[in-house]
């Protein structure tokens, strides 16, 4: 039920956004997001964007993962 792939918003018209998931385009509702812009990466559930990924936070956690993944 949960689709975990971060998807890029490529178009916005009123409250409807178009996302691109690995080349496949799909329309989603932006009603649950505070402010979304083209170029944002969002997490989508049941046809709605539910979270906008913050680049710096995502990079931080990636750093933690890389550290964890390099322990010998």
């Amino acid at each position: 039920m949960c689709l975990a792939i971060p998807s890029k918003i490529v178009k916005i018209e009123n409250t409807i956004g178009t996302i691109d998931v690995a080349g496949v385009k799909r329309e989603i509702s932006l009603l649950l997001l505070e402010n979304a812009s083209v170029g944002d990466y969002v997490i989508v559930h049941a046809g709605f964007a539910i979270h906008k990924i913050d680049e710096s936070t995502a990079m931080e956690s990636l750093k933690y993962l890389r550290e964890l993944g390099s322990i010998r």
């Binding site: 039920m1 949960c2 975990a4 792939i5 971060p6 890029k8 998931v21 690995a22 080349g23 989603i28 509702s29 009603l31 649950l32 997001l33 505070e34 990466y41 997490i43 559930h45 049941a46 046809g47 709605f48 539910i50 979270h51 990924i53 913050d54 936070t57 995502a58 931080e60 956690s61 990636l62 933690y64 993962l65 890389r66 964890l68 993944g69 390099s70 322990i71």
Partner: protein, 362 residues
């Protein structure tokens, strides 16, 4: 093609390193519960169970929406679908769930108008196109789905659509965690908390639960490395004896959650006591449509009292959902009950534990 923010979480090399770290760290025997059905699926798909040391047992919890839906609610959806002026809409998983006497799929084959939608807004669109019908959405799911349904009701109100209705059987997660701890039977040493429920409710929503029960908790994402990282964090807490509520899915979950979604959910719904399959009634664990929006409430408009609901005989779904049994311990598993001919909801849903065991040949 590379997918941003995801690739590393699928990198087998990173995953195998984390497994090494877990093996080095893990001494105590622990039982960890993944609460979310999508976690269950991902754990099986990636073979994580077989890679972990013997000290770690993973239990699947009550996080598959159709699985925890009470039999009475399944029967009510089926009854609603039989009303002549109704188009029943809902997510696909629900179609094959056995009710007491029928399934939605059987009713559809018998000519009832039942439509699978991908989003609640699709149901709204069906309502707009069929003004002479009542379009009822069968609302199941947790805090991830509930705000999308709330948004659909608010949109319907704005559009002046008076033939869109919701039967809300939505449930919320934190009270169920407390119920699991209260029974104590499953002996859970740590929780992997659901990723997308947490996107909405935030880390903060688990604080009262964590403070009361002092059990290790980590919010987890859905990729293999996310899940391994969460297991690592839980094992680390347990071995060090320092219990915490941690967020292991920071690219998607913030402390306060999605406040706009929370507000919509609270504007439209209020909490009520709800019945969960396998657990029974949990106080304030369900979502009911507020009086203000009662013209959209299918339970107000239709009289759907189902009195003689019975759970499938011999089905151990209830015990499986709370970590007391595993599917192979159900006498019907792989015999009378298979994905093609399921007896209980845990074999129907792709997120169901029985379906996951079956698919990955255990």
């Amino acid at each position: 093609m590379s997918i941003k923010y995801m690739e590393e979480y699928r990198d087998p090399e990173i995953s195998s390193k984390i497994i090494e770290s877990i093996k080095k760290l893990s001494q105590k025997k622990v039982r960890l519960m993944e609460v979310c059905g999508t976690h269950t699926m991902s754990i099986f798909r990636s073979g994580i169970r077989t890679l972990l040391p013997d000290t770690i047992s993973l239990l699947s919890g009550p996080g598959c929406p159709v699985c925890v839906t009470a039999q009475r609610e399944i029967d009510a959806f089926i009854e609603l679908a039989k009303e002549d002026d109704v188009i029943l809409t809902g997510f696909g998983d629900l179609m094959r769930v056995p009710g007491t006497d029928s399934t939605l799929q059987k009713e559809r084959a018998a000519g009832r108008d039942i439509r699978i939608v991908y989003s609640a807004l699709d149901a709204l669109e069906i309502a707009r196109k069929n003004p002479d019908k009542k379009v009822v959405f069968s609302g199941i799911g947790f805090e991830t789905t509930a705000p999308t349904i709330a948004a659909s009701i608010l949109s319907a109100k704005k559009m002046g659509l008076d033939n869109y209705l919701v039967f809300s059987a939505h449930k919320i997660v934190p009270p169920a965690l407390a119920a699991l701890m209260e029974t104590g039977e499953a002996r859970i040493d740590g929780f992997m908390l659901p990723g997308h429920v947490s996107v909405i409710i935030g880390t903060k929503a688990y604080l009262p639960f964590f403070e009361q029960y002092q059990v290790p908790c980590v919010i987890a994402g859905f990729e293999p490395a996310d899940i391994l990282q969460a297991i690592f964090i839980l094992v680390k807490q347990i071995e060090a004896g320092v219990l915490k509520l941690e967020n292991g899915y920071q690219r998607a979950v913030v402390f306060d959650g999605n406040e706009k979604a929370q507000k919509m959910m609270h504007d439209v719904f209020e909490t009520v006591d709800a019945v969960w399959r396998g657990i029974g009634t949990i106080p304030k664990s369900g979502l009911k449509i507020r009086k203000e929006f009662e013209s959209f409430d299918a339970q107000k408009i239709f009289d759907v009292t189902v009195s003689d609901s019975k759970e499938p005989e011999g089905c151990a779904c209830g015990e499986i959902l709370i970590g007391l049994k595993t599917p192979p311990e159900c006498p019907l598993y792989k015999k009378a009950c298979t994905p093609v001919d399921p007896v209980g909801p845990c074999m129907v849903s792709t997120e169901g534990t029985c379906a996951a065991y079956y698919r990955y040949c255990i």
